[in-house]
């Protein structure tokens, strides 16, 4: 009832192929963007911006990158954090060593450097598949942080290998407050997500999916496997690299190579598994679940502790939070193995029929 496209006629191919063909979706999306760009700045405080919304957006971008590679092109990767590290360190070095370099160009170059590195580590994907490829990308995960630590030049010979992001200034505007950083991240992420959404509907995106579903068949119909896989690696690593640059510049401010460890790669992998493999929306839902749920649980448990006078020590609430979080992941995967994005799709279908199901 609420979600019915009856009466919406499409009179051109353009209308039929639109990103959001249904009017309710268009309105809903416009509303969401308006809330994100206009509503949030009015109501959110610094804590919400710096500790929740910015990391959520940054991780969404990284998850989006991995989803392109794993969800659309079917290449399992455990090197996401390493590609983020490349993006962060490359952006830092471009900014540091090229005088007068605009920071956005540094981000882009950071992403492109990550893309180049991604292509190199993607080369084995032509010969090895599945879990074996995951092991090959694991090599990137161990090699890249090691290299960044080993070669002092990358961190400008900082004693502890930590890089400290330079201030962000674009066209004379200093992005130094949480709100400005949030808006910058929002703009970049929205733009890149839009690009990704279009990319997966294009010829190249369809080639990725053909290779994912059956590479022999894809080759038979004339898709060049090598090029397709490598573009997937390049685009995916570009997104991860951009996410890494934003992680360093807009979120933490200073990062150590050790922070981009296997844990982070796994976290991002879990994001797309929980959110939905092969779905743009799923990347966002998964990132929201994995970044927000622990915070939410901690707040809820501390509140319960105070409200019911349970007198649990801080250690107990921390442990309980990990237990509940693990339980929730299992719960969601059992209820809907295809991820939160699929849950949303089912919800839309139900809303369409409600209240008169067949």
């Amino acid at each position: 009832m609420f979600y019915r496209e009856a009466g919406q006629y499409k009179t051109s191919y353009g209308a039929d192929q639109a990103l959001l063909p249904i009017r309710q979706d268009r309105h809903g999306f416009a509303l969401l963007m308006a809330i994100a760009a206009l509503g949030v700045p009015l109501f959110a405080n610094d804590y919400w911006l710096t500790a929740i919304l910015i990391p959520f957006l940054v991780f969404s971008l990284a998850a989006l990158g991995l989803n392109i590679l794993t969800g659309y092109a079917g290449q399992l990767s455990l090197g996401t954090a390493a590609f983020m590290a490349v993006g962060a360190v490359a952006a830092y070095n471009f900014e540091l060593r090229v005088p007068g370099m605009p920071v956005l160009v540094s981000f882009l170059l950071g992403g492109l450097t990550a893309a180049a590195v991604g292509v190199i580590f993607g080369l084995p994907s032509l010969r090895i598949k599945g879990f074996y490829l995951a092991v090959a990308t694991l090599a990137a995960q161990f090699f890249i942080p090691w290299l960044i630590t080993k070669v002092g030049w990358f961190s400008n010979h900082s004693a502890s290998g930590v890089i400290t992001a330079q201030p962000i200034e674009i066209l004379g505007v200093a992005f130094n407050t949480p709100l400005r950083k949030y808006l910058l991240v929002l703009a970049i992420v929205a733009l890149l997500a839009l690009l990704a959404k279009n990319l997966v509907r294009s010829r190249i995106g369809r080639a990725w999916m053909a290779v994912r579903d059956m590479d022999v068949a894809a080759e038979v119909i004339g898709i060049r496997i090598l090029r397709t896989k490598l573009t997937a690696f390049a685009v995916s690593s570009f997104y991860c690299g951009m996410a890494g640059a934003l992680y360093a510049y807009a979120y933490l401010g200073s990062v150590e190579p050790d922070g981009f460890n296997l844990d982070l790669s796994f976290r991002i992998l879990f994001m797309i598994i929980v959110g939905g493999v092969g779905s743009i929306l799923g990347s966002f839902l998964g990132a929201a679940f994995i970044t927000l749920m622990p915070i939410l649980l901690e707040v809820a448990l501390t509140q319960a502790n105070a409200a019911f006078n349970l007198n649990l020590g801080p250690g107990v609430t921390s442990m309980a939070q990990l237990l509940v979080f693990g339980g929730l992941i299992i719960f969601f995967l059992i209820v809907e193995p295809h991820g939160l994005a699929r849950l949303w799709q089912i919800a839309k279908e139900k809303l369409r029929l409600w209240p008169f199901p067949h």
């Binding site: 500790a51 400290t164 150590e256 509140q303």
Partner: protein
């Protein structure tokens, strides 16, 4: 169909509770609020639990025994960081705006988190106290007005260890081989430059071997050590890594009395977990262990006897005592600031002034009941570090025994390197070094 409605409803309910998130325990107005970035889970949880229990026990003591600082009661909230930099930043953001006066002073208890907060602290006006860890060149308060690596820093520790080894080797390290076995993080990398300088100065061979987080697997590192046959091993470990190093050393037959740990690898948690493998192991220390101090007896009388204590098993351990001292320095800084700004809760700027003007001499330490647990501390704008004294202890028969008196490392070398490094940072960040007023 029912299932997804239920799960959506559950999600919505949880979301609602987050939106309505008020400060967990409503902070009473007029108290001195302390934000605590703690960790009690994960591979470093046991160490963190001891430290933060000590800290909170001391805050409880001040409330119970003295009724606060000059009548201003203390309140606090602990946020779990899991020793993870991103979570540490999230906790910091959460606690910094809890009350109008901010979190007073933050003890990040992690070198990585310290690095993450150094650029945020001046903007938010939150002082950072890094007792025996963190960024060493922050000792130069003219470049880092908001950071206080008090007591001793890592370079004091590293040069102190070299001096201790030098004493064992009858004053000549020429041609000796020393291995630094370090936790592969900002923490473990902090001593590298000063140890390299020391190696050049004393003519010993230095090999640095990293152990990846969390460090519960060190077979390959110790095989390297066995092949290299070093005269000494410096253990720069934290959490589960330290105990693993000791037991693996026993397995490959490396003598434990040729191993010297930094102070974070020198607590009962490390040696007791290693069992008999720890016998004879040396470690640097910032503070004495034991219950034989008036302040510890006071904690037992006013806090534990009134059922407000954290964990009686931790009382008197190395890290618990260190937590006690850390809280004492914060409390005394607030007291110092109150002397200038009046007897009310101090905000970040006022607390910063209080820390910078701390002067705790031996007489004051005796009054506070700390006696010889920690060395005296006097800070100034140019020196945010303090005495740089370190003391060595040996694990024998299930107890830490003193193996040296308070001693200091190569202070002249450190000061020179601190200033060079701080200058470099100031240039990179466009900071004009100078002292802050008020």
């Amino acid at each position: 169909m029912k299932t997804w409605i239920k799960s959506l409803a559950a999600l919505a309910a949880l979301g609602g509770s987050l939106l309505a998130a008020h400060p967990a325990a409503a902070q009473q107005a007029g108290t001195q609020f302390m934000g605590i970035l703690g960790y009690r889970v994960g591979p470093y949880g046991a160490n963190g639990a001891a430290f933060f229990t000590g800290m909170i026990d001391y805050l409880n003591l001040v409330n119970e025994r003295d009724g606060g600082i000059n009548g201003v009661k203390l309140s606090w909230e602990e946020c779990e960081t899991e020793y993870n930099n991103a979570k540490g930043v999230e906790c910091y953001e959460r606690l910094k705006t809890r009350t109008a006066t901010g979190p007073t002073a933050i003890h990040p208890m992690s070198t990585g988190i310290t690095y993450g907060l150094i650029d945020k602290a001046p903007v938010d006006k939150v002082p950072l106290i890094t007792l025996g860890y963190g960024r060493t060149d922050a000792t130069d308060g003219r470049v880092f007005p908001w950071v206080f690596p008090i007591l001793s820093n890592y370079w004091d520790g590293a040069t102190g260890i070299v001096k201790f080894i030098d004493d064992r080797e009858q004053g000549s390290l020429k041609g000796k081989k020393i291995v630094l076995l370090y936790h592969d993080s900002a923490y473990g990398k902090e001593p590298h430059p000063v140890l390299e300088a020391e190696a050049a100065k004393h003519g010993f061979e230095l090999r640095m071997i990293p152990v990846p987080h969390p460090g519960n697997e060190q077979q390959s590192q110790w095989l390297q050590i066995r092949q290299y046959k070093p005269d000494w091993v410096i253990l720069w470990g934290w959490g589960v890594m330290s105990a693993t190093a000791l037991s693996t050393a026993q397995k490959v037959g490396y003598p434990r009395d040729r191993m010297v740990g930094i102070w974070w690898a020198g607590s009962e948690i490390d040696t007791e977990a290693a069992g008999p493998a720890a016998e004879g192991y040396y470690a640097a220390s910032l503070n004495l262990a034991g219950k034989d101090f008036p302040v510890v007896r006071d904690v037992e009388k006013f806090v534990y006897a009134r059922n407000k204590g954290g964990d009686p098993r931790l009382v008197g351990t190395v890290l618990w005592n260190r937590g006690l001292a850390a809280a004492m320095f914060t409390v005394e800084a607030v007291r110092t600031a109150q002397g200038k700004y009046g007897k009310k809760p101090m905000n970040g700027e006022q607390a910063r002034w209080g820390i910078e003007n701390l002067n705790i001499d031996q007489k004051r330490l005796d009054q506070l009941g700390f006696g010889s647990m920690v060395p005296p501390l006097k800070l100034s704008c140019a020196d945010h570090g303090g005495s740089g004294l370190v003391r060595f202890q040996k694990w024998e028969g299930g107890k830490w025994k003193a193996a040296s008196d308070w001693m200091s490392g190569d202070r002249a070398l450190i000061r020179k390197m601190v200033e060079e490094s701080a200058d470099k940072y100031a240039k990179e960040k466009n900071i004009t070094p100078g002292c802050m007023k008020g």
